[in-house]
Amino acid sequence: MIEVRDLHKAFGEVRAVDGVSFVARDGEITGLLGPNGAGKTTTLRMLYTLMRPDRGNVLVDGIDAAVDPAGVRRRLGVLPDARGLYKRMSARENIDYFARLHGLDPATRTSCIDALVRALDMADIIDRRAEGFSQGQRVKTAIARALVHDPRNVILDEPTNGLDVMATRAMRAFMLRLKQEGRCVLFSSHIMQEVGALCDRVVVVARGRVVANAAPDALRAQTGAATLEDAFVKIIGSEEGLAA
């Protein structure tokens, strides 16, 4: 479970995150929805302790990120916005590197990687060098690398960004599978259908603040809009910034 309480983060004069609070529960997919520049990535970066909040707390399974950042990172699987691989290493070596950094023993590493290869259908690329991977192959490898330590909580920053239709569908199926395994899945997106189809709960962020926090159906009902997109536009109160 991930709890975020009143997060603030400013870069100079710009208040990127200005009082964000929400809870992402186990066995649920929580979507962080917002226009570009709303503060989604900055919020997630504070969750996986890359940045320190100016104010507010992050709790992962009850552990305070300010007190035990390494403990928080151990309980998180993170697919950041930046998802570069080491091109001179094979997919397996890329994943194994992160498994070692998590301190997994050799037997666990082998079994975890094998399980991920099956789940992500990447047997054909696992022993190829990452140089020349397609976008979809890169994302698969990056996800396997992020989840190799079998974390309870999974954070995905725009996971379907740049993927084609088939890869996007596979990604959605994989996220549902993570949910069925009882994990807490938190992902950011600006794609309406994706959020509508996947999420148990939507947290809408605009200008660094949470402007709505409910199930997708409830959001539509609240605003009286026919589609989630219309609801979203009504919630953030303008049409600007809707690049999706």
């Binding site: 320190r52 998802r83 070692r100």
Partner: protein
């Protein structure tokens, strides 16, 4: 600690797969510098000796005016040639190194006992001409002195009377020390090799990692940044150290082919030299690796990092330049200055001069302290929030 080792082995393995890095570490860094150095020295020494041994060709204008002088020069190994029509122009345009002109009035002046004049036409700014000019002038002076003495004897005066003062030179430099002045550049070549050897990794593990967007995922692992940095610094140092080892080995072998015996010099190139050079360079390897990592950590891209490091590469040249411009007497404080300490120590080792253990220790400790400081500063920069953000 375990994480640092994981990072270390991953960086080493990954970079061994990069052909350019391997060539820089195993070939360019260690071999180019010492080999180029040996070639240059070899060529310079051989050229000097060729000139000294060979007959000296001298174009002479008006040779018929002084048959005795010409005969004396011939006996001394001068090959008399016909002078070009316009000696001044020929020298200016570097067609010949020098021309000796004997004016028509030479014989008359000689016979009258007046100073007879000969003209030496040459260009002082031509390095190549300096040797022949000095040789010819020496021969002419000797001829003049010999004939002067004979004239004195003919008048019943002891020639010694005109030489109230005689200078006898007693050169105190040892054979090793004489060769040492030639080899002042060598420590710089070793340091440069270390720099080149570590450069690719320093960039790849910091700015490169950021540019290919793999730094943020890496930092999401439950490993302290100090641990990550330790592994990266270790890998950079390991590559630089490999370069140094190969460089010292290459020089120890190639140095034996130097014609130092022709100069009556000898170099200490044994195991003693190799081991102590390695030891004194060890902290410098770490210092340079962490300075390179620090500089590259500030860079946003690979290219920017390369620019910073190329500028940083001039820093090791400073003590070498200073010592060659102002040949200071070796003093204790020099050992305490990183880079300069190594320069002085390696020079003395090469020359076979004694180094007190405390001087050696001072050099090692001072550089090690500087390396530790550089590592701490780099670690501090590494903990900053801005470092991680790729975009």
């Amino acid at each position: 600690m375990k994480a640092a080792l994981t990072v270390f082995w991953k960086e080493v393995r990954e970079n061994l797969r990069d052909r350019r890095t391997v060539i820089n570490t195993l070939l360019t860094g260690p071999l180019m510098a010492p080999l180029m150095f040996v070639l240059i020295i070899n060529a310079a020494v051989t050229r000097e000796f060729d000139k000294a041994d060979k007959a000296l060709p001298v174009p002479v204008a008006g040779a018929a005016n002084a048959p005795n002088l010409i005969a004396a020069l011939r006996r001394a190994g001068v090959e008399i040639r016909d002078a070009p029509a316009d000696p001044e122009r020929a020298v200016r345009e570097q067609e010949v190194d020098l021309v000796l002109r004997i004016p028509a009035g030479y014989a008359a002046a000689w016979n009258a006992g007046d100073p007879a004049q000969v003209e030496l036409v040459y260009d002082q700014s031509q390095r190549d001409a300096q040797g022949p000019v000095a040789r010819l002038r020496g021969l002419l002076d000797a001829y003049a002195a010999q004939n002067g003495a004979m004239r004195l004897v003919a008048r019943g005066i002891a020639p010694a009377l005109t030489r109230p003062l005689v200078v006898a030179e007693r050169d105190q430099s040892t054979a090793q020390a004489r060769s040492g002045t030639l080899f002042g550049m060598l420590p710089y070549f070793f340091i440069l090799g270390v720099f080149i050897g570590g450069m690719a990794l320093a960039i790849d593990t910091t700015a490169g990692e950021r540019e290919r967007q793999s730094l943020e995922p890496l930092l999401a692992n439950p490993v302290s940044r100090g641990g990550l940095l330790a592994g990266k610094l270790g890998a950079t140092s390991a590559f630089a150290l490999t370069t140094l080892l190969l460089g010292i080995t290459a020089f120890s072998i190639a140095g034996r082919f130097l014609p130092t015996h022709k100069l009556g010099m000898s170099l200490e190139l044994g195991l003693h030299f190799a081991a102590l050079t390695l030891l004194v360079m060890l902290p410098l390897v770490v210092l340079l690796a962490s300075l390179q990592t620090l500089a590259a950590a500030f860079a946003k891209s690979f290219r920017e990092a390369q620019t910073y490091l190329s500028l940083l590469m001039f820093v090791p040249a400073i003590p070498t330049l200073l010592l060659s411009l102002y040949p200071l007497k070796t003093q204790d404080w020099m050992y305490a200055v990183p880079l300069m300490g190594q320069q002085v120590t390696i020079m003395r080792l090469l020359r076979g001069d004694p180094i007190a253990p405390y001087q050696f220790g001072l050099c090692f400790a001072a550089t090690a302290l500087a390396a530790l400081l550089a590592c701490l500063v780099t670690a501090w920069v590494y903990r900053s929030e801005r470092l991680a953000i790729s975009a």
